[in-house]
Every structure is written in structure tokens, then in C-alpha cells.
Symmetry: C2
Subunit: 209 residues, 2 copies
């Protein structure tokens, strides 16, 4: 059965930004701080490295019963038994991924317009990532969207929507009025000295907003 | 059922080297010259581009009933219904790929030592690519092997072995005494002005050696 995911604090990994030696350490500290779902997102590595990393991270997410989503690579997700994949507009189409993964896996998609959001939803996406909402420093090919754009996307679909792009402990509360289900973070968690405390603070700032 | 592949002239694609406008044109001209199996090998592109390319090339290989192998990406191979994958040492392990693809798909592996060749064979590989035999110009991370090394690999396993790396119409006949089942080519075919004639010449030079 498809896992029921809490999208409140959605961690995307990035080895380049991590303050710990291993990716497993970062993920474990982040989960201890309350991260509710983890996406392994590593572009600059070979398939073998990505596979080995996914296996290693899955031992952590399994231990804490937190869902693991793999960015882009459906084969890696299948190989390690992850909970699903996240697909950007430059990845394999959502409908094709659904056919390969079956009904029990999570297929997430990036959508930064209402039109793309509806398209991904109708193609079978389980949730959407929408942004760049606050100006990311970790992706260069993104397009800025306003909080109104985000709200329009949120209102246009009946699946969870996660805001992404430059979310930090100062601005995360601003997301609340848009109705989004959660926030995706990279550097605001794994780039911090105290990863666990950073995750805790983000969660409480979002929930108490 | 697993296709019975003739490995005599094994074409790997490379858009950077192609003399035609589209990859489909190069593949079609090469097949018309006698290429017996096609591997789509494109590293510098997004997953979506690779998927679209694989779909396009498959219309050609299907029309000529030539098997299509996808480099590295098991998900792309599954998505387009290709005949199998080719895996380098930096890709997903052979055994994992076999589990994902099932018994009816081709899993090929790169092996440039007798030890790696036996390992891949025992892990379930259907054929091996061995090289770099003549000094490739298209890959930078390869290790040169001698014709004796190639023969030792050929003798160590009971699956087809394809020589790769700098094979051209002058040196292809030198492969015959090693007992290999075929030669893999990139620039010697798709980098030529007359792709069809180049493939024909390679085949005849190999078969008449």
C-alpha cells in the first residue's frame, strides 16, 4: 500500500552543502529534528555511487520509519525499494514513471505554474513541489514564483503541495497562509552546524505560524 | 523470450561525434550498412532527453528488427521497452539490474580484466564489452588492454565478448584471432561521412579476416 506521507518538513539532500562527514549522519540528525520525509537528490555522481548512497540512506530512513524518495532515478528507487521518486520537468514523464513503479509507490513532481501542476496531478502525481519561492542558492535553473502563485497552485490541485526554494527559519511562517502542506529544505537543514536544532526550529516556526 | 543477438558489429551512439543531424538518421544509416546491435549511449543529457531519444531510436531499431540496448539507465530501458542495458563498472551492479529487468532482457557489462569478466558472467551478464583495445578517442576514463588480455577474457567466460575502444577498418581484422564475437564502434561508424559504407567495410574486414 502507498505510504501516507506527512509533508511538513521535506528534506532534500545535497552532499556539497552538508556539514557532516557522511550523508547518513546528516539525514539521521535531520530526522531526529523532525524531518518528515527525505528525498535523496544527488546529481554529480555515478549510478553506482547513487545506488550505494541510496542503500545507505535507506537504512536510516527505515530505522526511523521516515519515507525515502529518490530524485529522478526510477531504477535506483526500484533497486533499493524506496517509497517513490521525485521528478522534475527534465526527468521521465510522470505517467511513464507511474507505469514503471505501480500504484503503491509515491510519484512526486515539480510544478511551478498552475498549468504544470494540473498536468502532473492528472498524470498521476501524488504530490507536487512548487517553487522557487524564496530564491534558492542551490539550484541555478529555477524560476521564482510569488506566494500568490504558490497559493494558486495549492488551490488548483487536490494533492499535497510542498513549497521549495530558499525556505529558512525566518521565512517558513510566510508559507502558512498559502495552505501548502509543507516546505522542502536543503541548506536550511543540512547546511547548518546543528542540523537537529535547525529542523526543530523550522517545524515549530511553520506549525505555530 | 530473450533475443538472440548477433554481436558482430555493435554500434554505440554519440551525438557529439555524429555527422548527421539526428541520431535516428545515424542509426538508420549504420543499420543499413550491417550494424547488428545498437547501444544508445548518451551521458550529457537530462533524463527526459535520454527518454525521448531512446523512444525515437527504438522506432528505427524496431523497423529493422535490430536489438536496442540502453547504456546505464535501467529505467529508460524499461520505459521504452528496449531489449536490455549495458552496465559499466560505475553503473548499477549486474545482479541488481537482472533483478529489475527479469530473465528476458539483455544485461551487458564492461569488463577489462579476467576477474571482472568472470564476476560479471557469474552475476548474470549476457555478454561483455572488453577494452580499451586500440586506444579510444571517445572515452577518457578507460584502461588499455592488449589483444592477449582480450583473448584471456574471451577464454574465461561462456558468454559473447565484444571488443571496444578505437576499433576501425584497419585494425578490426586483428581482433579475429582473439575469438571475440564482435567489435563495438562509435566514431568508426557514426563519425564517418558515409556511415553505411563505413559499417559495411568494418563488417567485411572482420568477417574476412
Amino acid at each position: 500500500m502507498k505510504p501516507d506521507i506527512d509533508y511538513t518538513l521535506y528534506l532534500c539532500t545535497d552532499r556539497q552543502l552538508m556539514t557532516t562527514e557522511t550523508i547518513e549522519e546528516s539525514v539521521e540528525l535531520a530526522i531526529q529534528g523532525g524531518v518528515t520525509v527525505v528525498q535523496l537528490r544527488e546529481k554529480e555522481c555515478t549510478s553506482r555511487e547513487f545506488y550505494e548512497m541510496a542503500k545507505a540512506v535507506k537504512t536510516i530512513t527505515d530505522a526511523y520509519e521516515v519515507p525515502l524518495i529518490i530524485n529522478d532515478r526510477i531504477d535506483i528507487a526500484l533497486a533499493v525499494g524506496a517509497d517513490g521518486v521525485h521528478l522534475g520537468q527534465k526527468d521521465i514523464p510522470v505517467g511513464v514513471a507511474r507505469d514503471l513503479l505501480g500504484a503503491d509507490k509515491i510519484v512526486g513532481a515539480t510544478a511551478n505554474t498552475v498549468e504544470l501542476a494540473k498536468e502532473a496531478w492528472h498524470a498521476g502525481a501524488d504530490y507536487l513541489g512548487a517553487g522557487d519561492v524564496f530564491g534558492t542558492t542551490t539550484k541555478s535553473d529555477t524560476k521564482h514564483i510569488t506566494l500568490d502563485d504558490l497559493k494558486a497552485i495549492r488551490d488548483a490541485v487536490e494533492i499535497p503541495v510542498v513549497a521549495i526554494g530558499g525556505v529558512n527559519e525566518e521565512n517558513i511562517a510566510l508559507l502558512k497562509p498559502t495552505g501548502v502542506d509543507g516546505a522542502a529544505v536543503i541548506s536550511a537543514v543540512v547546511g547548518q552546524k546543528d542540523i537537529t536544532a535547525a529542523a526543530e526550529k523550522l517545524i515549530s516556526n511553520f506549525q505555530e505560524a
